[in-house]
């Protein structure tokens, strides 16, 4: 009976544009969906709605002036962006960084990782239809932002990590408040698990959806939690340690397919939860061991590296962020090229969205955790 109906029913493919104004595309992304009924035949993402000419700006600005623009790429993880850029410039300058600065940078980067993951998890909840976790994660994120504000006065875009150091020393109360936050935040992860992670409806929406096999992830160059969700143990902090990450003990959580298949949306989500716990571990060690000392190396006011090229990569909350800088000896870099994690992670989207329902597009996009500021630059 069904066969007869299917053969007689002639359906056309429908093209559906999702975005640029859509609550769940995480910014101004347009996804062009070719649909057969509600099944996705083809999904193309169109970008460029937030192209802010970052690389052009770099050619016109001096090295320290670029730092605020670096903030505005992945605006959910400004500290981590700064760290990557500053490392690349310091490689060109070949300067020694005081130990206290390295500790402060690691502390900030790990706090930023937690803050970024909290936004990712909260909005992922929103995408799959759960509003409450969003309010809970933002409550905790505000506490991290308060710590950042105490340090440098800004809530979102900091301009804190400078070439050769940081702009201010830590506030005298910072270490105490940071430790209090860690104490406060540990049970909140459990709370989030109870609210969302093991929620039956949430698992139904995310398990076995958008499965990203490890080979495909590696072929596309996917990095960060999206790669580790597929079960690949790859983390720049461990594979190619920068700053002082080789001094800390932490695990690299990978997806194991606890709710469905390895590499599905739930795995990518769960890896982020586990990573927050690891970040807390790093923070605890760093806050205990932080030495006294200077917060800036002897860097001339006019940063003017000699001819040369440098590449530095860091593990951003979203994945591997790399900066390639060519210097021709002037006050301005000749060229700055960015390897953004979100852009590369988005490229795999059309591959894994095929064959799913329209509603799953939202879940897949949310689990990849993209930021358009970084994709378009």
């Amino acid at each position: 009976m069904t066969n007869i109906i299917e053969s007689k029913l002639k359906t056309d493919e429908m093209v559906l544009n999702m975005g640029p104004q859509h609550p769940s595309t995480h910014g101004v992304l347009r996804v062009e969906l070719k649909l057969d009924g509600e099944k996705i035949v083809k999904a193309d993402s169109h970008i460029g709605y937030l192209h802010r000419c970052f690389e052009k700006h770099c050619e016109a600005m001096t090295y320290p002036q670029i730092i605020p623009y670096v903030d505005r790429m992945d605006y959910l993880a400004a500290m981590s962006n700064e760290l990557g850029y500053v490392l690349a410039v310091e490689k060109l300058l070949k300067i020694e960084i005081p130990e206290r600065v390295e500790y402060i940078r690691v502390i900030m980067a790990e706090f930023q990782r937690i803050a970024s993951h909290l936004v990712a998890l909260g909005t992922f909840g929103l995408d799959t239809g759960a509003f409450t976790p969003f309010l809970y994660t933002f409550r905790d994120r505000e506490k991290i932002l308060t710590l950042f504000e105490l340090t440098c006065g800004a809530r979102l875009l900091y301009n804190y990590i400078w070439v050769g150091g940081v702009s201010h020393d830590l506030h005298p109360d910072f270490i105490r408040l940071a430790k209090e936050f860690i104490e406060y935040f540990r049970p909140k992860v459990v709370e989030l698990n109870e609210l969302l992670t093991y929620n039956k409806i949430f698992i139904e929406r995310t398990a076995n959806i958008g499965v990203l096999p490890p080979e495909l992830a590696i072929n596309y160059g996917v990095s960060g939690p999206s790669l580790r969700g597929s079960g690949v143990k790859w983390d720049i902090r461990r594979e190619d340690p920068y700053s002082i990450y080789d001094m800390f003990e932490f695990d690299i959580p990978v997806g194991e397919g606890l709710a469905g298949t390895t590499g599905d949306c739930w795995d990518r989500y769960y890896v982020r939860i586990l990573e927050m716990e690891q970040s807390l571990r790093i923070l605890e060690q760093a806050l205990d061991q932080i030495p006294e000392g200077d917060v800036s190396a002897a860097v001339p006011k006019r940063v003017k590296p000699i001819d040369g090229i440098s590449y530095a990569r860091v593990e951003n909350p979203k994945g591997e962020l790399g900066y390639f800088i060519i210097s021709k000896g002037g006050l301005q870099p000749f060229r700055v090229k960015v390897r953004p994690p979100s852009f590369v992670n988005l490229s795999v989207f059309s591959e894994i969205a095929k064959g799913h329902m329209v509603a799953d597009v939202v879940a897949i996009l949310g689990s990849l955790d993209i930021v358009l500021g970084e994709i378009d630059r």
């Binding site: 910014g27 709605y49 000419c53 623009y69 933002f138 809530r155």
Partner: protein, 162 residues
């Protein structure tokens, strides 16, 4: 609550003029389009979430511009996005209001000089009621902008005088 806890002897009539009632309703429920552009959108989200809580001012995010009164331009408007923003604005029913949030949408902000793909101010494509400065503005600043908008709504009349 002055009126509600009094017992009315007869039927519960409140006498007012239509203008005041309309203003009261319009000021107390400004619905906003869920529309984030860039960095400022994160601060807008923070304003609507638990700590700052937009909702207490009657601001409810709506997913569609066709159901909303307010459009918050939260971030950099690029040339490619400008025509889409105009279209979103045109889909909103009258009376409609626009808050331009942050330096980028006010005037181009940090992308003013070298941003070849950045619109130098969203007011070049749509009319703006309130400008909120900052890069990004703090949530308190956005709330202040919202209160200013409410002042503006309270001071205008929809009733045509004869």
């Amino acid at each position: 609550m002055g009126v509600l806890d009094k017992e009315f002897l007869q039927e519960n009539f409140v006498v007012s003029n239509l203008d005041a009632v309309l203003k009261w309703a319009r000021v107390a429920s400004v619905w906003q389009t869920t529309f984030g552009l860039a960095c400022c959108a994160i601060e807008m989200m923070a304003t609507s979430a638990s700590h700052y809580d937009f909702d207490r001012f009657g601001l409810i995010p709506r997913p569609s511009p066709r159901q909303s009164d307010l459009l918050i331009i939260s971030g950099t408007v690029t040339l490619k996005m400008a025509s889409r923003i105009k279209r979103i604005y045109e889909q909103m029913p009258d009376p409609k209001y626009v808050i331009s949030m942050g330096s980028c949408s006010n005037c181009g902000g940090p992308y003013w000089e070298h941003g070849y793909h950045v619109l130098k101010g969203v007011d070049r494509v749509i009319p703006v009621d309130v400008y909120v400065p900052g890069c990004p503005p703090r949530p308190e600043a956005l709330l202040e902008g919202l209160l200013k908008l409410k002042e503006k709504i309270a001071n205008e009349s929809l009733i045509k005088s004869a």
